[in-house]
Subunit: 69 residues, 2 copies
């Protein structure tokens, strides 16, 4: 199982809820956490790559990047 972390710009609960719903619908995601407070998204998957998940997060229209922290 791989864990990936992303920085995602989210302004309100509607923003973080939208990212959560997008990840919840994504096949191959085992577990995810979306934090409005820290502006971080953590995703666990054993079938999707880091970039594939980043693409889906960006499809929400949010500014997102792979987190180095």
């Amino acid at each position: 199982m791989a864990e990936y972390k992303y920085d995602v710009v989210m302004s309100c609960g509607g923003c973080s809820g939208a990212v959560s719903r997008a990840l919840g619908k994504l096949e191959g995601v085992e577990k995810y956490d979306v934090s409005l407070e820290t502006q971080k998204v953590t995703v666990e998957s054993n079938s999707l790559t880091e970039d594939e998940i980043l693409d889906v997060i960006r499809k929400t229209g949010k500014t997102a990047s792979i987190s180095s922290a």
Copy 2:
């Protein structure tokens, strides 16, 4: 040119900005308007169907439906 209208639940400028960015990146969209105030999204296209555009809006994670008004 066809004009389609959608009801989209958006809570803040981050939400409406995300929907705008998703539509702005979508090939085939000629013009679009995203209103946080009225919770409406209007899209003009001559190549995409009403349902194809709805799918892209829903990929943002927002609750969206075709508007009857």
